[in-house]
Amino acid sequence: MSVSDQAAPASPPAARGAAEGTPARRRRFSARSRRDFWVFLAFAAPNLILIALFTYRPLLTNLNYSLLDWTLGSTTAQFIGLQNYIEFFTSEGGRRTMLITLIFTVATVGGSMVLGLLFAVAMNRRLPGRTVARTAIFAPYVLSGVGVGLVWLFIFDPNFGALAWVLRQVALTSPQWVNDPNWALVMVIIVYVWKNLGYCAIVYLGGLQSLPTEVLQAAELDGAGPVRRFWSIALPLLSPTTFFLLITTILNSLQAFDIIRIMTPAGRGTNVMIFEVYLQAFGGYSRAGYSAAIAVILFVFLLLITVIQIRYVEKKVHYA
């Protein structure tokens, strides 16, 4: 039985109609399709194999581990079904981790986007030294997270730090940035906003510079002031940029790890989900199964956020 003979009964009417013809024609079409398929495979297979091996296989392996009670380093494990997932959602530690993740994500995404937009608006004006300002604002984004963490840790040191010195000049005492869990979260949020706002600013700047000037000029002629022009025209026209930034910064925030690990190695108050994955497996507990379950939950959250944004938020976007 040939391939075309097998495929024909399963084809829907529309496809079948298109494929109908003389047997010779069908054979020619089939032979060409097969040739195209092999060409496609020759080009795509190396990438598909690599993706399957290094992305999807670990993903599935992790899913498998998440169903186990497995101590890292042990050669044996017990199948416990969804117990790790139940523990994460019902334990106080799991709930706290989700709350910390939510606060961190909202604060870093909101902070870097709002400040990024403000900087973009400022940098879009013809001011002296704006090239230097653009470079200075964007530079932190490309710096190593480890280096950034170490430098900021010194700045935040309540005894030696530059910030403590500044606060002492105005008769204030430095908070215990690292030891106090609430301040520790504020600390890492500040650093992430500082590091990421340059990215938002540059993307927004690109958006601002591509706005149709005739629309803004028309509004100006109609008597709209700068604030009105910004809120009623520029901002809605920037919605594709905002949408793009919203997706990328949320995904980045949910995967933020390096600075948190460097500045707060114990993760007290800063154990966002991805850091909790690390802490549970490698931070002393060696709970590889539980850690894998948190990683799967994080993966599902990321997937849901992306789907929701694409299905619902994108509809509100105004493409010029």
């Binding site: 392996t61 899913l63 498998n64 101590t71 044996t76 060696s286």
Partner: protein, 449 residues
């Protein structure tokens, strides 16, 4: 227009995709741990080294404790010159946790394991429970290790179930460091306080620094440095596997620590390494590892004094041991294990442990190590060595329960930073530690028997 995605999904395609999915799941299930069934793989096995010849080349994973890379390289060269066995020195991590990550990951992958690995006081027991390391007893006998010349407490730290699971390497104890200039300015004697109560009195006169005393940072082994306070007050984290955190003496000990910070205000908690705060003059005294001694002496711009950890009203002077030992993985060839044991023996020779000690500030593991030249150069080391007479093996709860150090640090952080109710915090801690013991430890140690 019909979506191409819809038209392509025939029953056959669906079946093919299902097959692919099932295959992928089957592939995902390959590797990693054996699920269910026989768990005897986790039991460490005795190895017979009769007729085994040592390997010609082995890997040694180290954290280079106390900046030991240079001295390790030198000692490795001496070892190769003596035995012909090449040792590849690998930086396994910056600290004990990082090397543990790497070692456990290699265990999970069952590849790339070293022949010798640095393992800390809180990690080796986990490797024992998982069957990751071999008992060294046969090797100690075959290679004629002179155990009676090793310092007993440092060797006993790695004994469990009647077997020796590692040998001491970069061993340390906490040490009391004080700023002699500050003490002089306060009109105090040039010595460490004999008791904590004495220091509480002295602290009223210590006004030169931001704070008289700095507790070590909570991320860095709070449970280790506070062990002395507990023992001094007749308390303990646990007596063997019996947790003692909610007993009155333990509550009083932690209450005393909290009061020193919030009521009497002579203590603060460091944000980073307390050795740095001390060397920078932020505090007049602190507790830090003997492994920090060389670094502090190099960094401090004042006269550094050291002393035994102060005693409590019930017991003391008393001090926990700490630091790292050397172990041999189970999942490597006997030839490599034998070569590894020869290397461990060499690193523990009296003259070599003395060199290591001089370079890092860690304790000499052998009684016969000639430390006179080193003591002449750095007299403070003598105090650390003398304090070894007052060392005690740490409580099981801190060193044998996975994650207990992190749980203790969290509870101490609540008590010291959030002024949390001491009794309530310790009850929570005890509950968590009991859970870890029941779930992760008890079944495994029963299996090892």
């Amino acid at each position: 227009m019909t979506s191409p995605l819809r038209t392509g999904l025939s029953r056959r395609t669906l079946l093919s995709l299902s097959g692919l999915g099932a295959g992928a799941f089957a592939l995902a299930a390959c590797g990693g741990p054996t699920v269910g069934g026989d768990s005897s793989n986790d039991k460490a096995k005795e190895v017979d080294f009769e007729g085994v010849k040592p390997a010609k080349k082995i890997d040694f994973w180290s954290t280079h404790p106390g900046g030991a890379k240079e001295i390790e390289t030198k000692l490795i060269k001496d070892f190769t010159d003596k035995t012909g066995i090449e040792v590849n020195l690998v930086t396994g991590g910056q600290n004990y946790e990082e090397i543990a990550q790497r070692f456990q990951t290699a265990q999970a992958a069952n590849s790339g394991l070293p022949a010798v690995v640095v393992l800390s006081d809180v990690w080796w027991f986990r490797y024992f429970m998982n069957g990751n390391i071999i008992p060294l007893d046969n090797l100690l006998k075959q290679l004629d290790f002179q155990l009676d010349d090793y310092r007993e407490t440092l060797v006993e730290d790695y004994q469990y179930d009647g077997k020796q699971w590692a040998m001491p390497y970069g061993r340390s104890t906490p040490l009391f460091y004080y700023n002699r200039d500050h003490f002089k300015a306060a009109g105090l004697e040039d010595r460490a306080p004999k008791t904590w109560d004495e220091f509480a009195e002295w602290s009223k006169k210590l006004t030169e620094a931001d704070t008289p005393f700095m507790y070590p940072d909570l991320a860095g082994y709070a449970g280790w440095t506070l062990q002395n306070v507990l023992w001094g007050r007749g308390a303990e984290y646990s007596h063997e596997w019996d947790l003692k955190l909610t007993e009155q003496k333990s509550v009083e000990a932690f209450q005393w620590v909290q009061d020193s910070v919030h009521k009497e205000k002579w203590g603060q908690v460091a944000s980073s390494d307390s050795a740095d705060s001390f060397a920078g003059g932020v505090c007049s005294a602190t507790i830090a590892s003997t492994g920090s001694l060389v670094g502090i002496l190099e960094a401090a711009k004042f006269d550094v004094g050291v002393g035994f950890l102060p005693a409590g009203p019930v017991d003391g002077p008393v001090c926990p041991t700490g630091g790292a030992g050397l172990g041999i993985p189970a999942a490597i060839k006997p030839e490599e294990q034998l070569a590894a044991a020869e290397f461990i023996k060499f690193m523990g020779e009296p003259e070599n442990t003395a060199q290591f000690s001089a370079a890092t500030g860690y304790m000499p593991n052998r009684k016969s190590s000639d430390m006179s030249a080193i003591i002449k150069e750095t007299p403070q080391i003598e105090t650390a060595i003398k304090q070894l007479e007052h060392t005690r093996k740490q409580d099981y709860a801190r060193v044998y329960l996975p994650g207990a150090d992190q749980e203790i640090a969290k509870a101490v952080a609540s008590i010291l930073n959030d002024k949390a109710d001491v009794k309530q915090s310790l009850e929570g801690l005890q509950k968590n530690l009991q859970g870890i013991y029941d779930k992760d430890v008890k079944p495994k140690i029963e299996k090892q028997k």
